[in-house]
Symmetry: C2
Subunit: 258 residues, 2 copies
């Protein structure tokens, strides 16, 4: 029995189109129109599974978004814009909004009330691998003098390696971890220290992995929970909190590489 051509086999495509601002119906109709060369409203209804009466307003919206064109015949026939053009056009609109939003928000951000002192004593929690690595990216790209990393090898992801590679040569980079790197993974000016037994450092306990990322000896990020669940991290500019890890670092390099 051949696969039925209903709206049942909806892949992740619809989700992707939704984040571009399309509704479920709009996605279904557009996809239906891509399947065939051109179609009447009723044919679209049959292919997409969208109620016939709902097809018309949906086609209207798709036309306004430039994804669909109409014939002037009666009955009207509809045609989809090629997907690369169409998606590109949608994306361009969103990018416009993004840059506009960015400017407006930066204006607000600049005029905020400044109370850095209090903020510095705070310890912040980040959640989600993406967001954590974004923060690390921010730390590294703003680092002026030094970067210190000691972490379980598993936490030094390719993304992190890439971030390290982009740090200018004027910044000193210290890296202590277990495991090894492929040639070319790291720039030459990175001082790498290898720690065989990570448990002695406290970085590895059972399944728990940890990693410490320090920039300019002023900002520290502590990555926790290397396991399956959504990882979290602590970030701080608190001198007290920082001193803790700077001491930790001194302890490691003196006792393991005396």
């Amino acid at each position: 029995m051949p696969m039925v051509n209903t709206a049942k086999n909806m892949g992740p495509v619809k989700e992707h189109l939704k984040s571009l601002g399309l509704t479920k119906y709009e996605a279904l109709v557009y996809i239906a129109l891509l399947r065939v060369e051109s179609a009447s409203a009723t044919e679209i209804h049959e292919i997409s599974g969208v109620p016939r009466a709902s097809v018309y307003p949906v086609l209207d919206k798709l036309m306004k978004k430039g994804l669909v064109s109409v014939s002037n015949t009666t009955p009207k026939r509809f045609d989809a814009a090629p997907p690369d053009e169409g998606v590109e056009h949608l994306l361009r609109q969103i990018e416009l909004d993004a840059t506009a939003a960015k400017e407006e928000l930066v204006a607000i951000y600049r005029s905020r009330e400044d109370r850095e002192e209090k903020k510095q004593e705070m310890i912040w929690t980040l959640s989600g691998r993406e967001n954590i690595e974004n923060r690390i990216s921010d730390m590294f790209s703003n680092a002026a003098s030094s970067v210190i990393i000691f972490a379980s090898r598993d936490l030094i992801t390719p993304r992190i390696l890439d971030l390290i590679a982009q740090i200018p040569g004027t910044v000193s980079i210290d890296l202590a971890t277990n495991g090894i790197f492929a040639p070319g993974d790291l720039p030459d000016h990175v001082r790498v220290r290898s720690i065989e037994n990570l448990i002695d450092t406290g970085l590895l306990q059972g399944d728990q992995m940890a990693g410490v990322f320090i920039a300019d000896r002023e900002r520290v990020l502590l990555r926790l929970n290397g396991d399956e669940t959504t990882p979290s991290a602590l970030y701080s500019e608190s001198p007290a909190f920082l001193q803790l890890f700077l001491n930790y670092w001194n302890h490691i390099i003196t006792s393991f590489f005396s």
Copy 2:
């Protein structure tokens, strides 16, 4: 009297953030957090106008989107990610979805049932200036041998001039219009013909302007309605429809430039 700092003065920022996938509350809370250095949930409620109880789930979602971080103090305090980072991150996610969607849709597009013959006889309607110029862009960038344009000068927008400039030199370009161009507006190999009295050509009637764009003598776009309302255009690959305008073109160049 100074401007009150309530949630009343909400500019277009919120709209822009919405098209990046944020809800109204998420936008309000994020903006509120940008105003101040860091805030408790109740402070956020006071600044943003979002109900206190609703602030918590909203903050959760913002954290997952990487726009907000939490302190580990009690009570918790919240902090906004800098807007350039934050917006950039949101946009990156959407761009990922866009490229994914594009690939998936192109796959569908390729495997569609082909009935080009019928489609060729069709005359399609496009609506919206953006969408029309996008189609023209598509026509021009795919043109292999020739491009013909005769249109009221007002319809040759800077965008169109830019599109013309990007056509390779191997493609012959003919342009007939009223009005003039600034030096450098057009590449050298464009054959420009100047028509003083556009009414005789039928391109201009009262307030109605029209323009014809032909690529490779195979595809024609007829732009109408130069006035205020959302403009529309006809597009066709029908040989009969095309012949109409090719004759038209011959008539113009012979009777005006004999």
